[in-house]
């Protein structure tokens, strides 16, 4: 704490004026960032962690109001008139944001956008600014910088766009870089690269970094000091090592604890095979035809899989690896080639009607708990919809009973059944989605990233629920996720996918602890040994 402070925030409060009254998003938070220091602000969604920085930078939504004090090197900047604030933001304090896809203006080239802050703050001519842009793009290690300069954002990948944002942030040699969840939307391997880049640049250029994240793994690897936020207040602050080794508050302890834990034992060798796929292949698009280019793209390239009773197969891979497509193809929700056998019945290529008798045994839970429940139906209508199809003989009373039971099964009050999805939190909605699957008494459930949209602490509860249901109903899971920690905790067998093919598969422990393929190795390190990567690369 002896370093000279770059940014001091004192008792900041942020209020939003909403149609349902004023909402206090931040309630009196104080922070400090010292020269050359890396500070992390951690919290779950809705903790107000981003709003603190938005208000400091004068970027609050129009219905937001901030009070308190924010000082940059002693100068008060909170609620400063825009023209005065503009001398600081973009020059002395710069930001990078979570969404690399939308944070750059889609209508201008990379060069145009990077030149703007250079010309405005640095007073450079366009020519000099362009030269500096090229330098910056080289600095953030973008391949083919001369060509990428002339490109539009949509022509770059997510990771490249985030590099461009970093280049923009560094353009005017800032004192402080605020990074708001800069790697959340990226795959783990790209995340590791970006974090390494940031750490490397900091070492060379010496600016302070304020890192906003929900990911404790990043904090541990990256930050010197941590602020933990919850419900708009500071829960705890301290040196990283101290917070991780000896957390003071119960909330912080719970957060640290929420990292998925436990393992799953493999089922018996002779357990019945429930669902089998042989050479499953999915192709999108159409072949070349009259006046039409070939738009064909193979998402899944002939995969074999066999799921036994009470087994959980984890399918991991980064975005675009074809893991979700595989899950849908197995359930015949997408047209696919190859054989699919469910309990001895050949179901590959069956049409809607032909599939119907098997659907109650084969269920699916989706990623987005907000999108997977019909917004205009009550919970009980949502849960019993499948019963109407598969057990049409049930009376409405019996159906209501089954719905109540399913709700209890997933740990929700049966009295909530007449409510609508929008009245529930994300975790509760995911429970409802699970209840919808469980009510049909399925044998196999395909879980497509069921925990990815949830906070870690809620995630943990859903994992517990899935474990319990599996035991109680002898379920088999196909668990699709990019989150390796969750996969490790839940599955006994893992398949690693890349570009539509399986790179490696085997017992969970073996794949995680002794990966054979270099891609798996890279994936595991990026997910579990961020600190190691950073230390190694910076050394």
């Amino acid at each position: 704490m002896t370093r000279e402070p770059v940014l001091e925030i004192d008792d900041i409060r942020v209020t939003f004026d909403t149609p349902d009254g004023a909402v206090e998003a931040v309630r009196g938070v104080s922070m400090r960032v010292g020269q050359g220091e890396t500070v992390a602000v951690v919290g779950e969604s809705g903790s107000g962690k981003s709003q603190v920085m938005m208000s400091a930078m004068g970027l609050l939504a129009s219905n937001g109001q901030a009070t308190g004090s924010v000082r940059y090197r002693g100068q008060e900047i909170l609620n400063l008139p825009t023209d005065k604030l503009n001398k600081i933001r973009g020059a002395k304090i710069t930001m990078i944001f979570q969404e690399p896809m939308t944070s750059l203006d889609p209508l201008y080239t990379i060069e145009d956008q990077l030149c703007e802050p250079l010309m405005i703050h640095g007073g450079k001519s366009r020519g000099k600014a362009s030269a500096r842009v090229l330098e910056l793009l080289k600095l953030v290690q973008i391949p083919e910088p001369e060509r990428k300069m002339k490109a539009y954002p949509y022509e770059l990948s997510g990771g490249q766009r985030q590099r461009v944002m970093i280049a923009m942030a560094l353009a005017n040699d800032p004192d402080l870089l605020i990074a708001d969840e800069p790697t959340t939307a990226l795959d783990v391997t790209i995340q590791a690269e970006i974090l390494h880049l940031l750490a490397d640049l900091q070492k060379r250029l010496g600016m302070s970094i304020l890192f906003i994240t929900h990911d404790l793994g990043i904090v541990e690897a990256f930050a010197d000091r941590v602020y933990v936020m919850r419900h708009g207040k500071l829960e705890e602050e301290g040196e990283t090592a101290q917070i991780f080794n000896a957390p003071v508050t119960e909330y912080t302890r719970m957060l640290l604890d929420a990292e998925p834990s436990g393992t799953k034992a493999a089922p018996a060798q002779d357990a019945q095979v429930m669902l089998e796929g042989h050479g499953v292949k999915v192709t999108f698009g159409q072949p070349a035809g009259f006046l039409r280019k070939d738009t064909q793209f193979t998402a899944v390239r002939g995969i074999d899989v066999a799921l036994r009773q009470e087994q959980t197969i984890g399918i991991v891979g980064e975005s675009g690896s074809g893991k979700s497509t595989l899950g849908r193809a197995l359930l015949q929700l997408l047209p696919a080639e190859g054989r699919v056998v469910y309990l001895g019945h050949e179901i590959g290529g069956l049409d809607r009607k032909g599939m119907r008798p098997y659907r109650d045994g084969l269920q699916m839970v989706f990623q987005d708990p907000y999108g997977s429940l019909s917004p205009r139906m009550t919970v009980s209508e949502i849960i019993t919809e499948g019963l109407l199809v598969h057990e049409p003989g049930l009376s409405s009373k019996e159906r209501a009973k089954r719905a109540a039971q399913a709700l209890e099964d997933v740990g929700l009050e049966p009295s909530m059944r007449n409510r609508f999805p929008h009245e529930f939190s994300g975790g509760q909605r995911q429970r409802i989605a699970i209840a919808r699957a469980v009510v049909l008494r399925p044998k196999v459930i395909v879980l497509d990233e069921p925990t990815s949209a949830l906070d870690r602490s809620v995630q943990k509860q859903v994992i517990e629920l899935l474990r319990r249901l599996q035991k109680e109903h002898a379920l088999s899971y196909l668990f699709i996720s990019h989150d390796l920690a969750v996969v490790r905790a839940l599955s006994d067998y893992v398949m690693v996918m890349k570009d539509g093919a399986v790179v490696e598969e085997g017992q969970t422990e073996q794949v995680f602890d002794n990966p054979r393929a270099s891609y798996t190795h890279e994936l595991m390190r990026a997910a579990f040994d961020l600190r190691g990567i950073l230390r190694e690369k910076l050394a």
């Binding site: 909330y251 269920q363 019909s374 919809e385 199809v389 609508f420 939190s425």
Partner: protein, 376 residues
């Protein structure tokens, strides 16, 4: 650990569906609520007004052409004597000093040459100004007599048109016509558009391509011109007008419904229903329709004013409904022709139209804000 209240329970107050929430939001929107009231009043006026109006919309008062709007009854005092004089001019009698009193007029009449004919009282009756005319012939001198008649009390609160028809009654009937065309043509557009769009969106693939290609071609046709042609060449009949206007306006509806259906099909809750083996019919019924309904309703409220405008436009050009029926467009067109000497003939129909359209637009906007909260 387990006592951490992270999965917070839903608020314990009453559970509301999205529809109920939307209605609550709508109720808070004063402009929209006022619009609903105005629309109800206008609809009632259009439906029942012509039945209770003091004048028929087609009744002509030749003596009261383009009279100004007034809350006082016509004829006005200074009009009575000239009206009596002109009415009796053809009776070829000499008139004495005319007295007007208590809604009665007393006219001493005399003739130099012949005895008074009692039938001349008809001349007064024929005028719109007088009724119950009686001639009392002087018993002593049959060449002299006293005519008495009641003076009519005619109210033209919005004046009369160039033919001497009560403008208020004509506005009432035109409201009926305009609202009817608005509702029916919108219904035509709605049925065609929703059915077409939902089919294209749900079936998808090549059929969708062909169907939307057709819509694109239709879009590039100068449709208003076709409607005009249709109306000119096939006569001005109301049914044709509904069909023509509805046929023009269904394209937007089809596009919107298709877009909605397509995006709904990709939503996970529809996929979840498919994963449960729910049939296409039930998916459309339970998932697609309830979720497109909001957009369709919003669009419908905004379509009605468009349709009314199109009808008025045709009427303005003289291609709309035929005399003696009328519509707001016809009245505005007549008002425009007479605005120099009878500006009220333009003002009242234009004001009615403006109020009607404003109310429909505000209601549409209010519904959009209420049903589509992301817009707020």
């Amino acid at each position: 650990m387990t006592d951490m209240p992270i999965d917070t329970a839903p608020r314990p107050d009453t559970s509301r569906s999205l529809w109920a929430t939307a209605m609550l939001r709508l109720k808070r929107n004063k402009a929209a609520m006022a619009s609903i009231v105005v629309l109800i009043v206008l609809a009632i006026a259009g439906a029942f007004g012509p039945l209770v109006a003091p004048h028929s919309y087609s009744e002509v008062y030749p003596e009261f052409v383009k009279v100004r709007p007034s809350l006082q009854p016509y004829p006005q005092a200074e009009q009575v004597i000239p009206a009596a004089e002109s009415a009796l001019r053809r009776a070829r009698v000499d008139l004495g000093g005319i007295e007007v009193e208590d809604g009665k007029v007393r006219i001493p009449v005399s003739s130099d040459s012949r005895d008074l004919d009692p039938r001349i009282s008809r001349y007064l009756d024929r005028s719109d100004v007088f009724s119950n005319a009686e001639l009392t012939i002087d018993a002593a001198d049959p060449k002299k007599g006293m005519m008495e008649a009641s003076v009519q009390e005619l109210y033209f609160i919005m004046g009369t048109d160039a033919n001497g028809r009560d403008l208020f009654s004509r506005i009432l009937i035109s409201l009926r016509i305009s609202l009817m065309i608005g509702a029916l043509a919108t219904a035509v557009a709605l049925v065609i558009g929703v059915a077409y769009g939902a089919t294209a969106g749900f079936v998808g693939g090549r059929i969708d391509n062909v169907m939307m290609r057709f819509v694109d071609v239709m879009y590039s046709l100068p449709f208003v011109f076709f409607v005009i042609l249709l109306v000119v060449f096939f006569g001005r009949n109301l049914v044709l007008m509904f069909l023509a206007v509805g046929a023009v306006e269904w394209l937007d509806m089809a596009r919107i419904t298709r877009g909605q259906t397509l995006s709904l099909r990709r939503r996970e809750f529809v996929q979840a229903a498919e994963a449960m083996g729910v049939s296409s019919g039930s998916i459309i019924k339970r998932h697609i329709i309830p979720n497109t309904a909001g957009t369709v309703i919003i669009y419908m409220t905004l379509l009605i004013p468009k349709v009314i405008l199109l009808e008025s436009f045709l009427s303005f050009l003289g291609l709309g409904v035929q005399e003696p029926l009328t519509s707001l467009g016809v009245l505005i067109s007549e008002g425009a022709k007479n605005m120099r000497n009878a500006p009220f003939m333009l003002f009242y129909p234009a004001a009615t139209m403006t109020v009607l359209l404003f109310a429909l637009n505000f209601l549409g906007d209010g519904l959009r804000d209420a049903l589509d909260p992301k817009d707020r």
